[in-house]
């Protein structure tokens, strides 16, 4: 078994233009910074990116958007990125805006080998257009399909050389489901350790889902809104 690679550039080597990529993170929280930088540098384009948000103008996926490397985004909220909203309103970028729970569940269902499921979210709205509706206990639901991707790229706090991953605080978000859903999953970690250093009880994503793992470097961990409590002294 040899899942370990040296860095992001080696990890993303199989990704070509036109690929569909899932990227973990919520806003800038838990984003795979090293792989995003490597994708920007590699210069591939016509990408379909599945990510809850689009980063901010000059960080996260915003970097790929600036370089016009993304053809299509599949997201639930893009409010923090003015360039994204501009490209969307001007028709320069294809966008599927999907309810956040539907997005998370579509990815989770791909991870679980379930091809389709029913959710009440979006019934009666434009999200329902063209979708099958079915009633259960007199309540309407939309049929949604599992969402797969050629590649899933996630960033975890700790991972071992067998691919087991542990996440910290709210950086789990979409990453755990994406890691399990990708055809090929790439994980960058803050701490790469040997097997046995992660207690099996503590594993969030089992190594079976992870194909390549590497020790990440120089994490900026940018904060979008640094809200603090003023303490009276």
């Amino acid at each position: 078994m040899n899942k370990v690679v040296s860095n992001a550039h080696e990890a993303i080597q199989p990704i070509e233009s036109g690929s569909t990529i899932m990227l973990g993170g919520f806003g800038l929280n838990g984003i795979p910074e090293n792989c995003i930088a490597a994708l920007v540098q590699k210069g591939i384009n016509q990408l379909t990116c599945i990510s809850n948000n689009a980063g901010v103008d000059d960080f996260g996926l915003g970097l790929l958007l600036q370089k016009k490397q993304i053809k299509k985004m599949i997201s639930s909220y893009v409010g923090e990125n003015a360039e994204f909203e501009r490209q969307l309103l001007n028709g320069e970028l294809e966008v599927d805006l999907i309810p956040q729970g539907t997005l998370a569940t579509r990815i989770q269902m791909a991870a679980m080998g379930i091809p389709a499921f029913y959710t009440p979210a979006g019934f009666g709205t434009e999200v329902a257009f063209g979708k099958e509706v079915r009633y259960f206990n007199n309540k309407p639901y939309l049929m949604e399909l599992a969402l797969h991707a050629d590649f899933a790229i996630v960033k975890a706090w700790k991972g071992d050389t067998m691919g087991n991953l542990v996440f910290r605080k709210t950086t789990r978000n979409f990453s755990t489901s994406m890691a399990k859903a990708g055809n090929i999953t790439i994980a960058e970690v803050e701490h790469l350790v040997q097997p046995g250093e992660i207690d099996p009880d503590d594993v969030h994503v089992a190594g079976i889902y992870v194909h390549k793992i590497f020790q990440g470097v120089n994490y900026e961990k940018r904060i979008e809104k640094r809200t603090v409590k003023i303490v009276d002294k």
């Binding site: 569940t105 999200v127 809104k225």
Partner: protein
């Protein structure tokens, strides 16, 4: 006179009951967390994976790995739990959240809500709003009674793209507390000093006004 956004939040906090699990949307709803009564335990859920969201951190406590659904840095209370987005929306859809408070651009007399898109102008995305309104047992909308142009936000039917159908139970604005009934908006309370006439004028949807409308007590 009309309430300000803090007054709206204070009035919504009166709907809280001890032990409730509550989801607060961005904007005015987040202020509700500041007015939880002294001896009451409320567990705030953040849809990005927190049960037991606490107050904002001090400078020393700031942790880049710990944010809420509005992308703000937060803390956790004792007894908090962390999980992923799939689980978060699972618990939302399964009806485990006791109260959802969110903002809106429009609410209809049948309880439809529009709060995510202004075609051609603002398309930030719906985030978790559609999941929340489709599943929540108890939805309260917190908003101004009229928009910045002075137009009513309580309408016979929403004109903007919908977030959800027939889901809102209660609306609390700067002017009034209203319930949604099969016969339309029912005026339950009014802001002190505000007249029923003003509320009628600013409510385009069907409005039922009882003879005696008590003042909002904060």
């Amino acid at each position: 006179m009309a309430l300000d956004k803090f007054g709206i939040a204070k009035r919504i906090a009166k709907e809280l009951k001890d032990g409730m699990y509550v989801n607060l949307g961005i904007g005015i709803p987040t202020l509700v967390a500041n007015y939880v009564p002294e001896n009451m335990t409320i567990i705030f859920q953040s849809e990005n994976g927190i049960l037991g969201m606490g107050p904002y951190p001090t400078e020393e406590e700031v942790d880049a790995d710990l944010i809420n659904a509005g992308k703000e840095t937060v803390t956790l209370i004792k007894g908090a739990a962390l999980f992923d987005s799939a689980e978060s929306f699972g618990m939302i859809r399964a009806g485990k959240i006791d109260l959802t408070v969110l903002g809106a651009m429009e609410v209809s007399e049948q309880g439809d809500i529009a709060n995510w898109k202004i075609p051609g102008k603002m398309v930030k995305g719906m985030g978790g709003a559609m999941d929340l309104v489709a599943s929540a047992k108890n939805i309260i909308v917190a908003m101004m009674h009229t928009n910045p142009k002075g137009e009513s936000k309580l309408l016979p039917a929403c004109t903007l793209p919908l977030t959800g159908l027939r889901c809102v139970k209660k609306v609390i604005t700067d002017l009034a507390v209203l319930e949604i009934t099969p016969d339309g908006f029912l005026l339950k309370e009014k802001a002190p000093g505000v007249t029923v006439e003003e509320i009628k004028r600013k409510t385009l949807g069907k409005l039922i006004c009882p003879d005696n409308v008590p003042d909002i007590e904060l």
